[in-house]
């Protein structure tokens, strides 16, 4: 949705194309150079940072909707997405937080409390993880900015999005122990130190250096290559890569890493 006309159509007739009660909000985590960040958008109407999100289209599958919304904000197709929790308690409707004047200035529409957008909505939270360097954050017509924030230095978020981020982080960190991760975030070949640093960043705390790497090797997820990284006279750690077959199966079936 780009133009003002489209925006006006959306406000007028959006309920015909979208389920007016059902939104998706996405916690898109970005990893790069041992830093974990979160993608946020600054909403033009409520003038606050929040998670990228949108309504689910009629006839659209939930995973498709989450894929569409994350692709629109990051430019990345087929992000690996997982649900973390659904939020639908009373009091999450938009109306009270809404700057009606700002909205009228922006759209030329005066919005009333009985407008379809002001109904109670239930939002399904999905999280995704990407290499920051693969993403091209892009604001849409509802937002003035779209930017990465360090996970330990987030602004206060609108609605119940602070609680969403907390749940997304908790779920993502639990999943680190049960699903393989890293295929699109580490280079094709990497050292055990690289993958250890990656897990420490994702979990957000120091880990026993051998824990994840050893378990990944034991489960056949990592393959040792016949090649060493040359980083100095007496230091030449071996390169590893993911075993794609084992990795893809573990994504489906889950495993126990710890």
């Amino acid at each position: 949705m780009k133009s003002l006309t489209e925006l006006q159509d959306f406000f007028k007739d959006g309920y015909k194309h979208y389920l007016p009660f059902l939104t998706i909000d996405c916690a898109i985590f970005g990893y790069h150079d041992q830093q974990l960040k979160l993608l946020l958008v600054k909403n033009k109407i409520i003038i606050d940072w929040c998670l990228p999100g949108g309504f689910v289209k009629r006839g659209e599958k939930l995973d498709e909707a989450a894929g569409r919304i994350t692709q629109e904000r990051t430019g990345i197709k087929n992000l690996f997405l997982k649900q973390f929790k659904t939020f639908g308690d009373p009091g999450r409707n938009l109306y009270e937080k809404f700057d009606k004047q700002k909205f009228a200035d922006l759209t030329g529409i005066e919005i009333q409390e009985d407008h379809w957008l002001m109904d109670h909505t239930v939002s399904i939270g999905f999280y995704a993880i990407t290499d920051i360097s693969n993403a091209s954050p892009e604001a849409d017509v509802f937002s003035s900015e779209c930017a990465w924030f360090p996970i330990d230095n987030l602004p206060e978020l609108a609605f119940d999005h602070d609680a969403m981020v907390k749940e997304a982080l908790l779920t993502m960190r639990v999943h680190l122990y049960h699903f393989p991760i890293g295929k699109n975030m580490l280079p094709e070949k990497f050292t055990l130190k690289d993958i250890h640093a990656f897990y420490e960043t994702m979990i957000g705390k120091k880990l026993n250096p051998s824990n994840f790497p050893n378990k990944l090797i034991a489960l056949g997820l990592l393959e040792k290559l016949d090649e060493k990284k040359n980083i100095g006279a007496h230091r030449s750690p071996t390169f590893y890569r993911f075993n794609t077959e084992v990795y893809d199966q573990a994504l489906k079936e889950g495993l126990v890493l710890a």
Copy 2:
């Protein structure tokens, strides 16, 4: 909801009291004597087994709705409930699976495709775990039976409930590694063998006998008592109990057991 009058009111005016698009389905796992079971209801209208569920009331919190629904079917207040996944893909509406004649016989109402109950619904899946001996399964006016089934011998379920059970089991089993469990399912004092057997039943496979017990002790979740179980001449394993303070904190914050 017990009487036919209430049922008729629900079909006529239910959308005034319930969110017509939002249901909750509950995978209620029951543990007893090293057996894991699942509570199912036999729906009178679609004539098939399914998970206990219901609509969310207007103004009701999601956790409250899940608590109400599980209490109605089990008689247990304050079951420990956790979301596992939300289901809302197109094609989950009731109409095609609906025996209109059966429904008319049961209720005296002829239902049409534009009836509020035939709309697209999104269902939030919650799972709970209880000691089977604490529960009193009770059918409601929509169901002819409510009964426990062994987890490895379930009947085929209606709607997308087979997929729900699969997700509920996967999530519950992942959570075993990250949240304490067992307080209302094991006796107040138990042996390490008891708790090992409990985890094996929940996970559904053989485990290294020391894995969970040792980790639980290391994290302070189990306290050794100054008392032994007398089960024969040379066999007197020590009793343990949960440390309630550590247990309750770990429920909130999560941990890593493996």
